[in-house]
């Protein structure tokens, strides 16, 4: 397939059936609409392009900056689209909670502005929601900008009413599914698709999924946050149900490991939410039920999210030469020297003094003649073996003498004959009035 530019590759995504052996519903045909296969990686590509297009020529003429309140996929798509047309992009976010996405945006040349967090003391002069604050800030901003306004822009919904929805109907052989399931973020995809499906068959059921209130699932709003969205209309949905982050990750892993779909947690939430809802209906109708959910984006950006919430999914066995494996007995056997003894030892035998603190702290003040090997790097080095000669005596130094004792125990176990730890660390050194230098 040959295209003149990448925007032509937006849309026409596949509809893939989920193996019933995986979802376990006997009378349901469940399909995933693979929006993650859009060129910039998510369902937002459609809305971003549709919202940007009408103002594009004018924006290019006045070199306007594209701006949007987004912390995720819309920003990603807009950053790529803005760059494609020689424009800059600024993403204003309530909090960028997925670090990989933040870095990807920076890589794409976006500027990121993060709105302040909630105040601790109640301040009656601080009355506006982030969306309103953002709208006001834009109104005061004299520089040329093109605000795509995804939470209120009808072209967001329209992108799905003219694209996603009709594609589903066509791929199901000109039929609407019995159930359509989508996570609610801007409500664009769920409202747009629902509108088209209902025009085709008024009996289509629409399930909207929101995040459990204290949970965070990327791209999904909580039951309260959806009310701040201009495009959100509760009448669109036959049911609105909450999904937890754990369910989202479980669903994601099932899609990843059993279905060959490298979809992210939002897709996992849609899948899990769909199966949970449909299970109650399974076998209650004479005919088979068809259901479609949106697989909104890919898994790769969410490894940090998974690592924080479910580290066991990424688990690896601890390394043998790791300070974490040091035993109490090994720690007790460490040769710890107090400040006075350490100073004498340095004077007489010139041991290698290794300071394990961060490089900035080391640069600020350190023991003269010492060498800075930041603990994280040092730990990686000793994984492979002793990083210095056994004939070289070593004094390890850290802030209070705990990390250094641990490393001293490890190096001793690895066969070093004379490694010592500064008892009480640099703090004790300072408190004893011993000299620290800044070079």
């Amino acid at each position: 397939m040959r295209y003149d530019d990448i925007t032509e590759a937006i849309g026409n995504t596949p509809l893939v059936r989920i193996d019933p052996a995986v979802h376990g519903l006997r009378t349901v045909d469940l399909y995933a609409k693979l929006e993650m296969l859009n060129p910039f990686g998510s369902v937002k590509d459609r809305a971003a392009w549709n919202m940007l297009r009408p103002g594009l020529d004018a924006a290019v003429a006045e070199r306007a900056e594209v701006v949007e309140l987004s912390s995720g996929n819309t920003a990603k798509a807009l950053a790529a689209l803005a760059g494609l047309h020689g424009l800059t992009f600024r993403s204003v976010t309530n909090r960028m909670r997925v670090p990989e996405l933040r870095e990807l945006l920076l890589l794409l040349g976006a500027r990121i502005e993060e709105l302040p967090g909630r105040s601790e003391c109640l301040d009656p002069t601080d009355t506006d929601d982030p969306l309103t604050q953002f709208h006001r800030a834009l109104a005061e901003d004299d520089s040329a900008h093109l605000h795509t306004d995804q939470y209120f822009n009808p072209r967001n919904t329209e992108a799905h009413a003219t694209g996603t929805g009709p594609e589903i109907v066509k791929d199901l052989g000109c039929r609407a599914p019995d159930w359509f399931v989508a996570c609610v973020g801007t409500a664009g995809s769920s409202s747009g698709v629902a509108r088209v499906l209902r025009e085709h068959d008024p009996n289509v059921g629409v399930l909207g999924l929101v995040a459990a209130k204290s949970d965070f699932i990327p791209g999904i709003r909580t039951i309260d946050e959806v009310n701040e969205v201009g495009l959100f209309d509760p009448a669109t949905y036959d049911a609105i149900e909450a999904v937890t982050a754990d369910e989202a990750i479980d669903g994601m892993v099932e899609l990843n490991r059993r279905c060959g779909l490298l979809a992210g947690p939002t897709s996992g939430a849609a899948y899990r939410g769909a199966v949970r809802h449909l299970r109650a209906l399974d076998g209650t109708r004479p005919e088979r039920t068809t259901a479609v959910f949106i697989a909104c984006d890919r898994v790769e950006s969410y490894l940090g999210y998974v690592r924080r919430r479910r580290p066991e999914l990424l688990g690896r066995a601890p390394h043998r030469n790791s300070p974490a494996t040091v035993t109490e007995a090994e720690l007790a056997a460490v040769h710890a020297v107090d400040v006075e003894a350490a100073r004498r030892w340095i004077e007489e035998e010139r041991p290698l003094v290794i300071d394990l603190r961060g490089s900035h702290a080391y640069a600020a003040l350190h023991i003269e003649g010492s060498l800075n090997l930041v603990d994280e790097l040092f730990e990686q080095q000793v994984h492979g073996g002793l990083p210095f000669s056994r004939r070289q005596p070593v004094l390890l130094v850290c802030p209070v003498g705990e990390k250094s004792a641990r490393f001293a125990a490890l190096l001793t176990r690895m066969g070093h004959p004379d490694v010592r730890s500064l008892a009480g660390g640099v703090v004790a050194w300072r408190d004893a009035g011993a000299p620290l230098v800044r070079e």
Partner: protein
């Protein structure tokens, strides 16, 4: 009216045991009048220890200062004087109070806007001065010179921390502190006037619950101290202020259900929960909720010492280490100024029911012998359910729910429409009778005297300190009569 929605307060044993003794509470109000504030000095001492434990876990040293403005109680301040805590005084009277309560000057920091008297007493006594701006530093230097005072110890209060790199953190504008970009000017003065002022370190206080904003500020402070060291100064304190928060509610699900229903009520999708449809900052614009919920986040999974722990475990935005490691490795001390978090569970406020009447919509107005300002939970956006303390022989107010819960608005006795002790419908196990007491739990942080006034020539609420002896019997004392020798 809809099904009752509860926001049950979190009650740790000291407060719970007090509430389990209604006779004692009635005796106190009988003797001292309504409203009446109770403070629990021993709880505050335990809270200091809980913060210290976090320091110890991170191997950090430094001062834990009580932000006095949270509560004017003498008992609390005197009890704190008997612990290792320091004190953050924000006025000349708070400073005098601290000194007269047993705080040696070196344990006190003078913060906030300062008039000449406050600055003089701080400098004269030798308290540490939080310097808000270059002009204040100049005033202090002039004062020290003119009066021949000892060298004043200062912390420079900084603000407007800017992130570098591609991500720009927008912060709420603050009235206080010197923008960190202009700190060079302050350091110039400190260097030049070294015989008049001694730089202990730098400080910030950010009014935000967000850890990343605080991480950025703390890292910026470390860089400023670095610059100060480069200039040959020897500062070692980073004072991160307060804002550790308190969790007021026992049950997070109740809080979530309540706030969801509140949004629905504002959008007209359920009957109102509040007096005249008050939205607590939310408004309905064409079916979309706009505005910001002006409520204290009353259920917080992480608050107080736990919040400090989380903050110290947060990585510094550019230097990479955790904030605790960053401070420790730079050999800095951490000072904190918790107010609300340090008096968590250390207060209870009581008021007597003087009138009960029905409204047209089936709710009741329960008038209390107090004004809304005497327990300013609403003013501070803290929503927790009041507790009914029945008169002797009327059973237990909380378990005594033979019938369904009753929705009431608690109103004050000012001659003013807006004098609502609760702007929302609160549910009690039964309709109160005249003479019953209503108790507000956990009011020691900002909810006792911060907003109190004397309108209509009303006397202010009395305050008493309460506690238990080793044998379990109760003691109480007028707040001003309490000393740590009181048993």
């Amino acid at each position: 009216m809809g099904a009752p929605l509860f926001l049950e307060p979190r009650l740790e044993p000291p407060l719970r045991e007090l509430l389990d003794d209604p006779g004692h509470l009635h005796d106190l109000v009988e003797a001292l009048g309504s409203p009446l504030h109770l403070v629990l000095p021993e709880v505050v001492a335990a809270n200091v220890a809980a913060f210290r434990a976090v320091y110890r876990r991170h191997r950090l040293g430094g001062r834990i200062c009580f932000a006095h403005k949270a509560n004017g109680s003498s008992a609390l301040v005197r009890r704190l004087a008997a612990t290792e805590a320091g004190l953050d005084a924000a006025s000349v009277n708070e400073l005098s109070h601290a000194l007269g309560s047993g705080f040696a000057p070196e344990r006190v920091v003078a913060t906030g806007p300062k008039n000449p008297a406050f600055l003089w007493l701080a400098a004269r006594a030798g308290a540490t001065v939080h310097v808000d701006a270059p002009a204040e530093l100049a005033d202090l230097v002039r004062l020290v010179r003119a009066e021949g005072l000892p060298r004043a110890r200062v912390l420079l209060r900084l603000s407007a921390f800017a992130s570098d790199g591609g991500v720009h953190l927008l912060a709420r504008r603050s009235r206080f502190g010197t923008p960190v970009g202009e700190v060079g000017e302050l350091l110039d003065v400190v260097e030049r006037e070294a015989d008049a002022v001694e730089l202990l370190g730098v400080a910030y206080h950010l009014d935000t619950t967000d850890l990343n904003e605080k991480a950025l500020a703390l890292e910026s402070c470390v860089r400023v101290l670095d610059e100060a060291r480069r200039r040959g100064l020897a500062p070692r304190v980073v004072d991160i202020g307060g804002g550790f928060g308190t969790s007021y509610l026992a049950d997070g699900e109740q809080w979530e259900r309540y706030t969801t229903e509140l949004t629905q009520a504002v959008l007209g999708r359920r009957p109102p929960l509040t007096w005249r449809g008050h939205g607590y900052g939310l408004r309905n614009e064409g079916g979309t909720a706009r505005g910001r919920l002006s409520l204290y986040p009353a259920h917080r999974p992480v608050a107080g010492p736990g919040y400090l722990d989380a903050l110290l475990s947060t990585p510094a935005p550019t230097l990479g280490r955790t904030l605790a490691d960053l401070l420790l490795e730079h050999l800095h001390d951490l000072w904190i100024e918790p107010g609300r978090a340090l008096v968590d569970q250390a207060g209870l406020s009581l008021a007597r029911v003087v009138d009960v009447r029905a409204t047209e919509d089936g709710a009741h107005l329960v008038r209390l012998a107090m004004t809304a300002a005497d327990v300013s939970l609403e003013e501070h956006g803290v929503l927790t359910d009041p507790l009914l303390v029945p008169r002797a022989g009327h059973g237990n107010g909380n378990g005594h729910g033979n019938g369904p819960a009753v929705g009431v608005y608690l109103v004050g006795d000012l001659c003013l429409e807006a004098d609502l002790v609760t702007r929302r419908l609160v549910f009690l196990p039964r309709l109160p009778d005249r003479g019953d007491l209503v108790a507000f739990a956990n009011t020691a942080g900002y909810c006792m005297d911060f907003r109190a006034h004397r309108a209509q020539l009303r006397p202010g609420a009395r305050r008493v300190a309460v506690g238990r002896r080793d044998d379990g019997t109760r003691w109480w004392s007028l707040d001003e009569q309490y000393w740590p020798t009181t048993r």
